[in-house]
């Protein structure tokens, strides 16, 4: 997890949010997930590094992870 950046790195966070919201709103509901997945795949390829992507996956899944029995 030490490799994960959680400090701000986005060049323009407000623009990022606005564009993402607007683009997804312009897409019909059944395709919104497809848009998000295409975006995920493109961004993952930009990141490239396995350790960072895995760390992001674990962090994203943390609230949903099943606790051990």
């Amino acid at each position: 997890m030490s490799t994960l950046h959680t400090q701000p790195r986005l060049e323009d966070p407000d623009d990022f949010y606005f564009l993402l919201a607007q683009m997804s709103a312009d897409i019909e509901e059944p395709q919104r997930l497809d848009f998000a997945l295409r975006l995920l795949l493109l961004l993952a390829n930009e990141v490239g590094r396995k350790d960072i992507i895995r760390a992001c996956m674990y962090e994203a899944g943390r609230p949903f992870a099943r606790s051990p029995e």
Binding site: L37, R38, L41
Partner: protein, 557 residues
Amino acid sequence: VTRSPRLTPSGYELPTFEPVVPAAVNRQSPERRTIVIVGGGLTGLSLAADLSSRGVDAVLLDDDVTVGVRGASSRGMVYAQKTLEIMARLGVYERIREKGVTWSVGRTLSGTDIVYEFDRTAETVSLQPPFINIQQFYVEWYLVDRIRELGAVQLRWANRVTNLQLNDDSVLLTVETEGGPYKLEAQWVIDATGANSPFRDSAGVSVESSHAVDHWCICDVRFAKALPAERWTWVDAPFNNGRAVWQHKMADDVWRLDYQLGPDADPVTAADPATAHDRVRAHLGPDVEFELVWVGPWKYRSQLARTFVQGRYLLMGDAAHVKSPFGARGGNSGVQDADNLGWKLGAVVKGIAPLSLISSYNEERREAAAENIKVTEQTARFLAPQTEFELRLRRAIVGLARHHAFARSLVNTGRLSVPNFYASSSIRGPRGGYCLPNIALTNADGRRTSLAALAHSCGEKPLVLYRPQRGEVGVPVHLTSECAASSVSLLRLRGHDEQGDSNSITDDKSDLLRLTSASPGEAIVVRPDLYCADVVSVAHIGFALRRTIGMAQAPRS
């Protein structure tokens, strides 16, 4: 259009062999042998041919009298480069090449669009092609002929092992024949009896296994329609209800067509000739005359034996590891098991190497099997999405793949068999553990040779290739004396424009130097199975040679 499908499992005339009743039948004392291989499938026969080529005495027992599984059963059909290189060394490659279909191009389709393709010709540096497709029983047949020609290994057909007893330094087998039973005591027994080995339990070797739900149905079909001799895979074929399909040509104008079935498919109905006929008709179109040669359902399955070496009882091929057929990693890895074990067994029984060399077979081939299982499970997951999300994720990948190279790398319809890296091997050095291809080389007298031919001439010992310093004449005395002390062959790698003596060799395209990154003044240690054991400076050659044959512990850290 014929509506009376004809299943012709007898489309092939397989050779049958005479049942053998050995002299030991009904004798009180057991027959004693050094090495006994149980099971005459692809892996067992490969080891028998390997040992035979080394002049090592061994016996192979098979409960049947033919090759193939009682009829023209479709098993392996894609033979990858490493297997072809091994078959070249064993002397059956030319027959495989003449009979089979040589290919290098693969295409993956989604619907009717090609979303991924490869051509392995450009990147290959081996004397053997990337792939040849041929029915497995042909390869087995050629191996049988070769083993008989070589003579050192006895093939005993219709010899069924009914009991196996593991002792401290031997294994005792009870064998049933047409003439009655006999006992056979061997220093080494190799279990090559396949996925349902009846001996693992009595030898105390447990198996980790996993099963999944996805079902498929193979239809081997003979037809004359001119389709390219390429590997075509559909992620979602319109003619198979949006499920995956494989299309691949083998010998005799027979095609391997493999269809993914629905989650609720009944394997018995799926293999029904009428159902199979309709499926193939939908695939090939209304105008193509075809004949069903063989139909058989299968499902995902993986198995891994806890160890491949239990005292004097060794496991190889499907008896040791089972995986789904994606990427042709079953048969090809079985042949590599044989290739790995052959020289080690030879070295041990000839007294060249200590017993402990055999444990490196377990380290290396079990690691390879675990890797192959992981790779095929990843393919299986891509081909059978478990949730709506996965299905949508895969659709996004396929959509991006039409325009972007990065997404094509995510399309996974099977990663074809390649020689594995042996990370956990105790007989490799820090710069070894990977396999070298069968590179073309030129002898000092201008004759063409190859890395496989050179390695074969070294028997069970490694080969040392020295890269001289610029302007250096001959080879360092320390290197010569260390190699001589171990009776190991030493060759000097020579540049194109350089004069060479009889102990020099030319690496025509510098493939060897590129692949090993050997610097001037360094020596490459090549194993009999063409794995690079290490690349070392002259001072370290003695240790490297001892380690390669299991005579040294891991290097001091």
